[in-house]
C-alpha cells in the first residue's frame, strides 16, 4: 500500500510534544507514556492521523505529551467525545486515555456504551485505585476498607473490576498489563492497536504519592511470578517462578493445581482469546489476588464483531446508492405542494 510506504520513518521521540511532562516524579504514568511513544512508530500510521482523547485526571494529561492531534476534555466523557469523532472520521486512529475515576466513576456509562457499540478505538485505563489529581480520595477500584482522605474509617463500597465490567458490556477486546512490565505493556498496546473494534486495556499503574504500592504484589520481582499469570492464546494457564503451577477448571470454578504429581498441562484450562462466548474471559477476570489467585495479564479476549463506526458509514453509502446523493430541491419540495401564480 503506497500510503504506508510513503510514510516517513518515525522515532518514539517524534511523538513527544513540546510540553513539559508534569506528573510527580516516580509516577507510573511516565512508563506508560514511554511505551506509547515506542509503539506509535510501529503502527505504520501517519502521525497526523492519530488522535489522543482523555477526560480529567492525572492520567488524562496524557494527550498534551503526545505530538499528535489531541483533546483533553471533561471528566468522564472522553469515550463519548471519541465516539463522535470516530463516527465522523473513521479514517482516524483514536486512543482514549482514562483513569479509574474518570473511566469507571463519572464516565462508567459512556465507557460501557462505547464498548458495546464496538467503536473502533483503543481505551487505555490507568488504574491506580485512587483519585490522583484531586489528591487522594478513593476510587471505584479501591479495595474495601482502604483508608483515604474521604474514607478515614475505610472504604465501604464494594469495588468494581474494570475487566468484568467491560466483559459485561459485550467487549470484543479486553486486556491487562502493568506500568513497569514494559515489554508486556508495549506488546499489549500493539495488540490493542491491531484489534478492530473497541480495545479495552487496564493498566495497573502506581500512584506513588497517594496510593504507593497498590500493585506491589504484581510488580515485585519476588512475588510477581506467583501473583500474575501471563495469558497466551491456545496455551494452558501455567504460572509460578518455576512455571510449576496451573489453573484447572472444577465445574465453573478455577482452582490452582501443582504440576507434576499426576497433573500435567493437558489437564489445565487452556486460554482461548477467540472464544465465541465471553464466559472464559469473564471467569478469568474474576481471578483475584485477594482470593489467592494469580491475576491474568495479557489479552483476555479478542474477537471480531460489527463496529458502529463502520456500520454508520455503510448505511450512509447504502442510502446514497439506493436514493442517489441528496438533492436539496427534491427534499424541499417533498409532500404536497401548490403554486401561487404571479
Amino acid at each position: 500500500m503506497s500510503v504506508e510506504l510513503e510514510l516517513p520513518v518515525l522515532k518514539p521521540t517524534d511523538f513527544a510534544s513540546d510540553q513539559d511532562v508534569r506528573w510527580c516524579p516516580g509516577c507510573g504514568d511516565y512508563s506508560i507514556l514511554a511505551q506509547m511513544k515506542k509503539v506509535m512508530p510501529t503502527l505504520g500510521i501517519a502521525r497526523e492521523k492519530i488522535v489522543f482523547i482523555s477526560g480529567i485526571g492525572c492520567s488524562s494529561r496524557f494527550p498534551y505529551y503526545m505530538n499528535t492531534y489531541g483533546l483533553h476534555t471533561i471528566h468522564g466523557r472522553a469515550t463519548a467525545v471519541a465516539t463522535g469523532l470516530k463516527t465522523v472520521r473513521p479514517d482516524l486512529n483514536v486512543w482514549v486515555i482514562t483513569g479509574d475515576g474518570d473511566g469507571l466513576s463519572i464516565g462508567g456509562n459512556h465507557l460501557m456504551h462505547c464498548i458495546r457499540r464496538n467503536m473502533d478505538l483503543n481505551i487505555i485505563l490507568f488504574n491506580n485505585r485512587i483519585y490522583g489529581l484531586t489528591k487522594g480520595q478513593y476510587s471505584p477500584t479501591s479495595p474495601l476498607g482502604q483508608r483515604t482522605k474521604s474514607t478515614p474509617m475505610g472504604a465501604i463500597d464494594n469495588p468494581l473490576h474494570p475487566l468484568s465490567i467491560a466483559i459485561g458490556a459485550e467487549a470484543t477486546f479486553v486486556a491487562r498489563s502493568i506500568d513497569t512490565n514494559i515489554n508486556h505493556l508495549g506488546e499489549t498496546l500493539k495488540r490493542a492497536a491491531a484489534h478492530r473494534g473497541t480495545s479495552f486495556v487496564e493498566v495497573y499503574q502506581n500512584c506513588n504519592v497517594f496510593n504507593d504500592g497498590a500493585w506491589d504484589y504484581a510488580k515485585d520481582r519476588d512475588t510477581k511470578a506467583d501473583t500474575t499469570l501471563e495469558l497466551e492464546h491456545g496455551k494452558p494457564l501455567v504460572f509460578g517462578k518455576d512455571r510449576d503451577k496451573g489453573i484447572r477448571l472444577h465445574g465453573l470454578e478455577p482452582e490452582i493445581v501443582q504440576l507434576g504429581k499426576g497433573i500435567n498441562e493437558d489437564d489445565l484450562l487452556f486460554h482461548d482469546e477467540k472464544a465465541a462466548e465471553p464466559s472464559l474471559a469473564y471467569l478469568l477476570s474474576r481471578m483475584r489476588h485477594e482470593d489467592g489467585f494469580p491475576e491474568p495479564i495479557g489479552v483476555f479476549r479478542s474477537v471480531d464483531a460489527p463496529r458502529y463506526d463502520a456500520l454508520v458509514n455503510e448505511q450512509v453509502e447504502l442510502a446514497t446508492k439506493e436514493k442517489g446523493p441528496g438533492d436539496l430541491d427534491a427534499l424541499f419540495a417533498g409532500g404536497e405542494t401548490w403554486t401561487v401564480q404571479a
Binding site: L71, A80, K86, L92, P325, W338, V340
Partner: protein
C-alpha cells in the same frame, strides 16, 4: 361524483377566514384529520396556520380527558400569523373531547359531535353526570352553538360495510367521515385526501377503499342532511407567487441543517438523545443519510453533546438538539466547547418547565439557561426562530455564525413552532447562501502551528486532524493566547476572558440592524422573540388598525443584540415585552439598556391569544 360541489346545493356564505378544530381520543386520528384539512386549505390557496395539541406523553385510557388530542387549523384569504384564538367550528369525537375543548368554541360556532360516543361509559369517563347533548344541562348547546349531532360510528360502519373490515378497523375510518363532513361545510376538494389515502394505504386496498368511502360519506352527509343548511367559502389569499408546501418547525429546522451542511460542504452530524418536543429532528434527519447525514442516538445528553464536540473537532457540521432538561445536562460540555472554540449548533426546542414540567406544552422559559446557564464567564451567541418556516433560515444562520466565529451557537425554538405548521415557499437550492469555511492546509516544514492565533473576527483556525504538521491539543483548562498551551498565568486569563467575550460581541457587526414593523416613533414598542412572533405581529397590526401608535420589534438575535436596538427604545414612550415566561428577555433588556421594559407574561403551556395581547396593548397605548 365530483369531489367538490361545483354548483352548490345550499347557500354559500363567504368568509375572510375561519378556524376549525378536530378533537377526539388519541386513537381517533385527529392529527391526521387536521393535517389533511390544512393541506387541502393550503392547496385551495388560503394562508394557513395550525396548532396541534397532543395529550400528555402517555396514551391515557381511551375516552378519558387525559387522552384527548386536538388539531386546530386557521385558514384565511388574508395573511395570518396564528392558528386563531377561538374556534369557528369544533368537531368532537367523544365526550372527553367536548369537555376539554368546548371553551374555545365561539358563541354561535359550529359544533359537530359524534353522537354515538355519548353513551354511559363515554360520559362517565369524561366526568359528565348528564348527557350535555341533551337540553337541560348547565349549558344548552343547541341554543348556544349550531349543534350537529351525527351518529358517526354507525354512519361510518355503514359506509364501509362492503369492504369486510372488522369493527375495530371500520371504526378507524371515522376520522375520514368527520373530515368529509367538514370538507363539505367549507367547500373543500376531497382530491388531496384521496391522493393521500392512495399513497398511504396503497398496500391495503380494502383499507384504502374504506377510508375513501367514509370520506365521501361524510361529504355526502353534509350535502344531503337538511339540518346543515349553509356552506362557507374562504377565498384564496394573495400570497407571493411561488411554489408552496406546508411545513412544521422541526421539519424546516432539519431541512435548514441539511441545507447548511450542503452549502458549506460538510458532513452533518447530529448527536442527540430523544426528548419531547425535539425528537422529531432526530427522526427527520435520520431519514436523510443520502445527504451524508449521520445521526447518533447517544446514551444520554452528555454523551450527545460531547460526541458533538468530537465531531466538530473532526471537521463535521456538528449539531445537538434537545429540550430544557436535556440542555441542562449539557451545561458542562458547553463550557468545554466555548474553551475549545469549535463551531457547533445547539438547538433547544423549549417546553414547559421547570424540571420535567409540561413536556408536551410550549414555553419560552429556557432563555436564561441559554444566556447564563454555565459556570464561569462563558458567552455563547443565542438566536431564535419565530415561526415554523423561519426555522429553515435560522438553522443556516446558526451555522454561518458558528463557523465564522468558531463558537457553539444556541438556536432556540419551542414546542409551538416545532409542531405547528405554516405554508412555506419552497426555496430553490440555487438560491441558498453559501457558507464558506476555511481550514488551514498542511504546515510548511518546521512551521509551528498556532491554534489560538486569531483572525480579524477574533476567530481561531479550524485545523482538522489528518492535516500534516497541524498536530495540536485542545482542552478545557485555560489556554495561552496564540499557542493554546495550558496557561495559569494571571494576565493571560484576563485577556482570554476578555477576548472570548469580545469575539461574541463582534458578531453584532455581522448581523442586520433591528427592524420595526410599524411607525419609527410612537407610544409603544412591543418587543418579542421566538415563537410568539405570530401573536405579537397580529395583535400589533390589529391595534394599529384601530388607530393605536404601536410598533413591533421581533428579535432573531438575542446575544449579541443588534447594535441599533438601544437607540430604537428611545423612540417609543413605553416598551412592552410579552413572553411565555416570567420575563427573561425583559431582564436582559433592562440590564443592557436600563430601559423600564414592562412585562406581559404567561405560563400556561400555550401561546398568547391575539385578543389578550391587543388588550394589554390598548391599556398601554
Amino acid at each position: 361524483m365530483s369531489t367538490v360541489a361545483e354548483s352548490p346545493s345550499k347557500p354559500v356564505e363567504t368568509l375572510i377566514e375561519a378556524t376549525v378544530r378536530f378533537c377526539g381520543d388519541s386513537g381517533d386520528g385527529m392529527q391526521l384529520a387536521g393535517t389533511q384539512f390544512t393541506t387541502t386549505s393550503a392547496l385551495a390557496g388560503n394562508d394557513v396556520a395550525t396548532f396541534p395539541d397532543f395529550p400528555a406523553e402517555i396514551r391515557a385510557p381511551r375516552g378519558t380527558k387525559a387522552g384527548v388530542s386536538g388539531f386546530q387549523v386557521h385558514f384565511s384569504s388574508e395573511e395570518i400569523f396564528t392558528p386563531g384564538d377561538t374556534v369557528d367550528a369544533l368537531v368532537a369525537m367523544n365526550p372527553a373531547a367536548l369537555a376539554t375543548n368546548l371553551v374555545d368554541l365561539r358563541d354561535g360556532g359550529i359544533l359537530i359531535v359524534n353522537e354515538s360516543a355519548f353513551d354511559k361509559k363515554g360520559l362517565e369517563l369524561a366526568g359528565y353526570e348528564a348527557n350535555p347533548l341533551e337540553p337541560g344541562g348547565l349549558v344548552d348547546l343547541e341554543e348556544k352553538y349550531r349543534l350537529y349531532k351525527v351518529d358517526m360510528t354507525q354512519l361510518t360502519r355503514d359506509s364501509v360495510k362492503e369492504f369486510g373490515l372488522g369493527t375495530k378497523e371500520a371504526d378507524r375510518c371515522r376520522n375520514f367521515f368527520a373530515m368529509g363532513l367538514v370538507f363539505w361545510i367549507y367547500g373543500r376538494s376531497l382530491d388531496p385526501t384521496m391522493r393521500f389515502i392512495e399513497s398511504k394505504f396503497g398496500k391495503r386496498p380494502d383499507v384504502a377503499s374504506a377510508n375513501t368511502s367514509a370520506l365521501k360519506a361524510g361529504f355526502n352527509y353534509g350535502e344531503t342532511v337538511e339540518a346543515i343548511s349553509t356552506q362557507y367559502a374562504v377565498p384564496k389569499a394573495e400570497l407571493a407567487p411561488g411554489t408552496y408546501r406546508s411545513i412544521m418547525g422541526n421539519t424546516a429546522l432539519s431541512y435548514g441543517l441539511i441545507a447548511a451542511a450542503k452549502m458549506s460542504g460538510k458532513r452533518l452530524f447530529l448527536g442527540a438523545y430523544p426528548i419531547t418536543p425535539a425528537s422529531d429532528i432526530l427522526h427527520e434527519l435520520c431519514k436523510h443519510k443520502n445527504f451524508d447525514v449521520v445521526t447518533f442516538q447517544a446514551e444520554d445528553e452528555i454523551a450527545a453533546m460531547t460526541a458533538v464536540i468530537g465531531a466538530s473537532f473532526a471537521g463535521a457540521m456538528a449539531v445537538t438538539a434537545s429540550s430544557g432538561p436535556g440542555i441542562a445536562l449539557k451545561g458542562e460540555a458547553f463550557g468545554l466547547a466555548v474553551m475549545m472554540e469549535l463551531p457547533m449548533v445547539v438547538i433547544n426546542v423549549q417546553r414547559g418547565g421547570p424540571s420535567t414540567g409540561l413536556p408536551t406544552k410550549t414555553e419560552q422559559s429556557d432563555l436564561y439557561q441559554a444566556m447564563y446557564g454555565r459556570n464561569g464567564e462563558c458567552p455563547m451567541p443565542v438566536i431564535a426562530a419565530r415561526s415554523p418556516g423561519d426555522c429553515f433560515e435560522v438553522a443556516q444562520e446558526a451555522w454561518r455564525l458558528a463557523t465564522r466565529y468558531m463558537t457553539p451557537v444556541f438556536l432556540m425554538t419551542d414546542g409551538y413552532i416545532a409542531n405547528g405548521s405554516e405554508p412555506w415557499k419552497v426555496p430553490s437550492a440555487a438560491s441558498l447562501p453559501k457558507i464558506e469555511i476555511e481550514h488551514p492546509g498542511p504546515a510548511a516544514n518546521g512551521e509551528k502551528f498556532l491554534p489560538y492565533k486569531r483572525n480579524e473576527r477574533l476567530a481561531r483556525p479550524w485545523a482538522l486532524p489528518g492535516t500534516p504538521g497541524l498536530e495540536h491539543r485542545l482542552g478545557g483548562l485555560e489556554k495561552q493566547d496564540v499557542t493554546g498551551n495550558v496557561s495559569y498565568d494571571h494576565n493571560n486569563h484576563q485577556s482570554m476572558t476578555d477576548t472570548r467575550a469580545a469575539k461574541i460581541a463582534k458578531i453584532a457587526d455581522d448581523i442586520p440592524a433591528q427592524t420595526v414593523d410599524g411607525p419609527a416613533t410612537g407610544d409603544l414598542l412591543v418587543v418579542s422573540w421566538g415563537g410568539t412572533y405570530g401573536s405579537c405581529v397580529s395583535a400589533v397590526r390589529s391595534a394599529r388598525a384601530k388607530g393605536k401608535s404601536v410598533a413591533h420589534a421581533h428579535l432573531r438575535y438575542i446575544n449579541p443584540m443588534p447594535k441599533n436596538l438601544g437607540d430604537l427604545f428611545g423612540s417609543y414612550k413605553k416598551i412592552l415585552v410579552p413572553e411565555l415566561n416570567s420575563g427573561q428577555l425583559r431582564t436582559i433588556l433592562r440590564d443592557r439598556y436600563l430601559v423600564d421594559a414592562i412585562g406581559f407574561n404567561k405560563m400556561q403551556g400555550k401561546p398568547f391569544s391575539v385578543a389578550e395581547l391587543v388588550e394589554i396593548i390598548n391599556s398601554l397605548a
